[in-house]
């Protein structure tokens, strides 16, 4: 993972031929890939920096692909997964999709299906990563608010008027107005609606009484 931005596709399949062929296919489309024969090998490797996805064989020696998906999720390791299998059945597919799989492909698959799925997965990962970055920024801004300002923000986003807030906090309406302006400025919110959205991302509880 040299360049932080370059997307990487991870392939886990116990069949070397399958690994090699998928890797080559991705290469022919200009995609970087890394292959592993077993799930443990993948876990031992470095964690991806840029957008990435995982092409995972359902049937792996020692561990089942679906179980592995669950293990990753439990560990807070979010990576889009495309399942490939020699023989997929409907319950298995449903389970995989419910657990957030991007796609469930049955071997042999059409190259387009795989490439589309990979593209989609990378997009999704990119979006996920982007979203995570924005929230981090908002959190950073939120950290700069004083305690009173956070209170005001909570009441604001809950839809209360300045007068109501002043009454709630026992301040004057003017003070509330000033504080509200500071919040809007610190949070770089252009409008009340934007602030409400930010609060939603941050999970700031709207104070209702």
């Amino acid at each position: 993972m040299t360049s932080a931005g370059a997307p990487t596709v991870f392939i886990i399949d116990d069949d070397a031929s399958v690994r090699a062929s998928i890797g080559d296919l991705l290469e022919s489309c200009g995609l970087r890939s890394e292959s592993f024969g077993a799930a443990e090998e993948f876990l031992r490797g470095e964690l991806p920096n840029g957008p990435s996805c995982l092409v995972l064989d359902v049937r792996l020696p020692g561990v089942n692909g679906l179980d592995f998906q669950k293990r990753l999720a439990d560990a807070g390791f979010q990576i889009p997964i495309i399942f490939i299998t020699g023989h997929g059945d409907i319950p298995m597919t449903v389970k995989a999709m419910k657990s957030g799989a991007v796609e469930f492909l049955t071997k042999p698959f059409r190259d387009r299906d795989l490439l589309d799925a990979i593209r989609q997965a990378l997009e999704r990962d990119k979006a996920t990563r982007q979203g995570r970055a924005e929230i981090a920024e908002l959190r950073k801004r939120y950290e700069t608010l004083t305690g009173r300002e956070r209170e005001v923000m909570g009441l604001v986003v809950s839809g209360m008027l300045n007068k109501q807030i002043a009454g709630e906090l026992g301040n004057s309406e003017v003070t509330v107005k000033i504080q509200r302006g500071r919040v809007m400025k610190k949070m770089k919110a252009g409008s009340l609606a934007e602030l409400v959205k930010m609060a939603g991302h941050l999970g700031v509880p709207s104070s209702e009484k």
Binding site: S17, D24, R110
Partner: protein
Amino acid sequence: MAAVNLIGSYNYALVALSVLIAMFASYVALDLAGRVTAAGGWTRVVWLLGGAGAMGTGIWSMHYIGMLAFILPIPVAYHWPTVLLSLIAAILASVVALGVVSRHKMGWFRALGGSVLMGTGIASMHYIGMAAMRLTAICQFNSSLVVLSVVFAVLISLAALWITFHFRDEKTGMGWEKLTGAVVMGAAIPIMHYTGMAAASFTPSGMPTNLSHAISISTLGTGGIAAATFIVLGLALLTSQVDRRFATQTLELKEEKLLETEAYLSEAQRLSHTGSFGWRVSTGNVLWSEESFRIFQYDRTTKPTVELILQRVHPEDAALVQQTIGRAAQDGKDFDFKHRLLMPDGSVKYVHVVAHAMNDVSGSLQFVGAVMDVTEAKRAEEALRRSESYLAEAQRLTHTGSWAWGVAGGNALHLSEEWYRIYGFHPEEGLSAWEERRQRMHPEDRAKWQGVIERAISEKSDYEVEHRILLPDGTFKYARTVGHPVLNASGDVVQFVGTMVDVTERKRAEEERERLRHALADLARVNRVTMMGELTASLAHEVNQPIAAAVTSANSCLHWLASEVPNLDKARAAAARIVKDGTRAAEIISRIRLLFQKGTQQLELVDVNEVIEEMIVLLRGEATRYSISVQTELTADLPQVMGDRVQLQQVMMNLMTNSIDAMKSVEGTRELAIKSQRAENEQLLVSVSDTGVGLPPEQVDQIFNAFFTTKAHGTGMGLRICRSIVESHGGRLWAGDNSPRGASFHVSLPTKVEASE
């Protein structure tokens, strides 16, 4: 001339002397008669003449002593030539007498003739002697007394002859019989004499007596006569005794020889277990030799009788014996038969009795014969017969006939009963069946058979040929004939001996086995197909993998070619992968197809490790599906096994799928371990172990039974079929526990290929 008879008186001492002389003479005569009888040829003539001389002298001397005892009042002289003549008459009479009595046989006619001649002789002697008297008196005879005296002479002679004939004894020197005979005879002769004397009466004539050649006998003369007579008689007796002694000695020598011969004979009888016997039918007298006593086990002192013999005869043979000897006695015919004896100790003897019938002089029937103890021979014969019957029985049980045939004429020399039976002949048909057998040989096999025989003859070698026998009822048998040449001293084949075995049952059993093998193969195939059916998903996965890889590689190949600047190296590499994966898929499919294949066992050299690896490939998907790791520990350079590849694959696959099934539901490690190694006795050992549920504890023995299963949908045939397959390869299949968990199955297979069915 006064016709007054002269009264004679007797000197009784002389009378007594005359009687004594008569007795002595009689005794000598008896003694001599024995000698004459004993002698033969010219010695007999000498004895006869000598004896007659002595006896005649005795009789004559008695006569003259008797005459001298008669005392007449006038002097009496004797004309000596007449006296001599009377002596000759006495000797002649004696010749006749001895001649008659010394014969071996004496009939009535001979006895009567002899006694008449002898009596006449004695009477002649007497009256000639009377005529020799020269005295001055006329001698007149009372004719009736004369006749009486002659009759006495004849009767006395007859009595004398009879006594002498019956009391003559060659051996006994002095016996009471002889003495009595002598006394009777000695008394009888004087009776005749004195009767004759009584017939004569003398009348004095006064005429001068012609005394020419006449002599007077004085008292001294009387003594002389008596003495001379005694001397002559004594000499005769002495000679007789000496001769008897010699004769006895000779006889003793002869007897010794005879005894020796008898001893030899007795020994010979003992050695040959042959006793001899004589049986006089009329008297029932039976004579036995020592060996006969031994054979019948009777004491030597027992008097043998027919009754005693019958007591020893085996009860079952009693009727036969009685009938045989009864008929022989009736018809006077020889007999020859065998029967058993039952001895007092309960043992049984076999005897062979041979007898010759003959009539003796008196015309009575007697048998002379031999009784042979043939027990040993009989036992040997029985043993032989028994061993022959054992052999025949063994031949019958093993369906093995024996034979021998001569090369020169091609004719049979020996054919056992079983040989006949195998060919469907009757043993009674005899050796002629040998020729007929050609007709019973299956036509298609004749040429082959002929060729084998001819080669064996020319090469002087053993031969072995299998051919069919076509029986009259249309069925046929398989026979295997083995022959061995018998060479003569010069190395030529003179005959072949050998056996013929009816191998029909074996053949049929082989066919049956072949059918069973087919059945097993079919069953095994069904089992394989079932097993493969259960594995379809896994097998499909295995085929799918390379196909998926190939398809993907094909796509990437197209991509490389489609770019603005086609990357040919990459495209080529992709194509190469396609080839590789396609080939791999094809291999897996062909392996699967092989397992579906139909057909009987096909033996080839098989590398067991290869079989194991192939099956692991097919089952890898299945193992992976249930998160089972597969470990192998295969010894390199294992010897190959002669076997059916597909069936061995089936065994491995079966054991491995069983292991996988056993681990599907267990928690923790799931490990399938397969090990191959060399074992003792040129065997190799394959173990398939798992960490599954293990064997049902109380059913370990049952898992190989047909229709025994612990699986919900199992047929219960898998392990049963596996065991059959392994056993048909000469190996073994067994199960055990795996440590610390699960089960182990072990297959041993022989690596040394033996000529098995």
